[in-house]
Symmetry: C2
Subunit: 459 residues, 2 copies
Amino acid sequence: MKRDKIKVLLEEKVEKDVHICAWVRTNRAQAQFGFLNINDGSIVTNLQVVYDHDLENFAEISKFRVGTSVEVFGKVVLTPNMKQPLEVHATKIVMLGDCPEDYPIQPKRHTKEFLREVAHLRPRTNLFNSVFRIRSVAAMGIHSYFQKNGYVYVHTPLITCADCEGSDQMFKITTLDVNNLPYTEEGKIDFSKDLFGKQAWITGSGQLQGETFAMAFSDIYTFGPTFRTENSNTQTHANEFWMIEPEMAFCDLEGLMDIEEEMLKYVINYVLENAPAEIDFCDQFVEKGLKEKLLNIVNAKFVRISHHDVVDLLLNSGKKWEFIPTYEDDIAKEHERFLTEHFNGPVFVTNWPKDIKAWYMKVNPDGKTVAAVDLIVPKAGELMGGSQREENLDVLLERIKELHVDVSNMDWYLDTRRYGGCVHSGFGMGFERLIMYLTGIDNIRDSIPYPRTPKNCEY
Amino acid sequence: MKRDKIKVLLEEKVEKDVHICAWVRTNRAQAQFGFLNINDGSIVTNLQVVYDHDLENFAEISKFRVGTSVEVFGKVVLTPNMKQPLEVHATKIVMLGDCPEDYPIQPKRHTKEFLREVAHLRPRTNLFNSVFRIRSVAAMGIHSYFQKNGYVYVHTPLITCADCEGSDQMFKITTLDVNNLPYTEEGKIDFSKDLFGKQAWITGSGQLQGETFAMAFSDIYTFGPTFRTENSNTQTHANEFWMIEPEMAFCDLEGLMDIEEEMLKYVINYVLENAPAEIDFCDQFVEKGLKEKLLNIVNAKFVRISHHDVVDLLLNSGKKWEFIPTYEDDIAKEHERFLTEHFNGPVFVTNWPKDIKAWYMKVNPDGKTVAAVDLIVPKAGELMGGSQREENLDVLLERIKELHVDVSNMDWYLDTRRYGGCVHSGFGMGFERLIMYLTGIDNIRDSIPYPRTPKNCEY
């Protein structure tokens, strides 16, 4: 028998017989009748079920505790003059699974810290029901944007034996018995005995492999989990998170910014359309003005300004900076805040000093800067980082030498510059950062189902 | 300037001015004019570009080698009486990136073994252009099916410290300096010094975490990479692959099969509609009759039969089996083949002997079997495996004891049975197996961009 979903009933607003399975959120029993508020997770909104003393198990229902799973048969009745648009008058209610008194998720305000301690139960709260549905809808919005524009979704590998990223930032993986390791004659661990015959890591990016696919499909994107070993306990760092990395052939820095801007607006609109109740919830209880903030982004024309001009602007602003801006250095949080306030919207900062950026970025004609771009958004700072890639093999090899990048196993990557290479660009977006932006949640631990952070790997 | 995509031009069939960036697949130059076949990766089909000696760089174009990246300006001309529906008459052609003579991907038939040696270049062949686009489109089909049915996409963690799956099948991960490991007084590695403060692995399944989210959202699915350490060199094993794991509350075994059947048909239709040229290519060059095979699945009513009845059928078939079927054992490949031929379509085999299935599966009233189901499809064997879960805490604890499962850190999982538990079910589908089925590719190494198998972790 098909279940009716509460979300669908609330959208249809049609009086009809229904069959719902859900969990009790509150139960107010009176002498002659009672009200169950139930939620099936299809929408953050609860459904009110009215039960009458005519029901043969009325006494039993009256005692249903919060968290109990129930099956409800009944009829939708529209209630246009009341707070909720409709309710269900029950003809039969069956308990499916009991819930004891000690159930931690009671209908009261819990702190987010407490809810992290019961992360397996927190999706049963309105807050996390909203956050994790928005997460799901945003993920679909991203796929939807790229697929409708003809991008190919590429599953780049996570296990890698190339350590050009700097292996100290990657988790080592092994199948060896760690308490009985094989050693070489030189006293080093003998990784030739390991599954892949050499040392292996879990990678922090699929960009380089993504570039090889962009040289065949023109437009590709990745969307998958990513790992960093950073021993950093902040609100924005996690050791496991999801990332989106699009890569476009025949695309320069200006084209890259067009795509970043279009994609972000598309995803915001997608979430506003497909999770309106959850956005409203976050607007009301997480970040006042959230919806307006998001609509402002959709309607904004993103400013484009070079790092050099940003520094000029900061120096001439008359502000006293904690970190004095220079033409050679990164900009600080206080500068980002000033920029988005000054321009009243998102800002692309382009053409960064090459010494603070990665080896694969396109060196500009000035020889000092690279065609990199960070997108800075109001309230959240950097949301995406990207660049045009250095497509000239000689210049690229020069940079590799300068920066001592180990490309000993990377001939395959350099082949993208040997065989029909072209101007190409890509960017990366941390998915959790986007979720925090879309929900107003201020700690990355609350944007991902089971966060992994230093000393914290439960569930 | 926006590029025109070849796929769009072939669909539109409109005479107009165009600007295309692509790679040369063949170049046939004659005295007065020449033909470039170019591909931009938007569709497996090449576009024919006619260039005339009027072009100022005609001599140069005549020498463009295979693999060169080019920018073409010109006009679409419909050619309804020729093999291809249209061609482009060039007004300007610019070389973007040269390609030397030694380019490995020449316009001839390469073996799949050779192409694995240049896995970074193989998406530039028609075969892998087709396979990896079908992979992308199928992934979108899966997301599309679940999202339109109200499922929540859950990113379950990959890093885990619980080893209830059997830690010998999981990769160990660490941030410790492996050539300078810290030891405890007992001479064991001191994992308290590791990033998470204890030993950690990369998991092979998100099912258990998925179940906790199904108890909040009713219907959820995962779709992400998965890792197995199996030292197995077969055509169907890889150490890194992608998996889909849906989990539905208020859903029994029959409901589970309904969903599996509906989803598979949806995804096949989605691929047939969104990658028709690539399916045609695979039908012609990889598996003759592929399209008919897929259409047969869409139109089939999947048979449902218990393991017990399967064994009866096999024993009474009059066939001589290499492996004699028994009521206690798994069925063999030869039995699967017989079943799909006998029923002329996909077969759900249900209610398996509990001793050969996992601890979390629902024990049937007979006490001997569990409510598990494998979906077996013609030519490929098992495509999905699932079960109703044991929702009764006492029975589950009994099974955990019987099978010596380590649930010392698993109270969170058992809470799904304590707090408003309910009948629920889920299944897993290996994504590469689906891709092999959808393309006719017979080796998993050719279904995933950069395969990881024992002794093989390049790129």
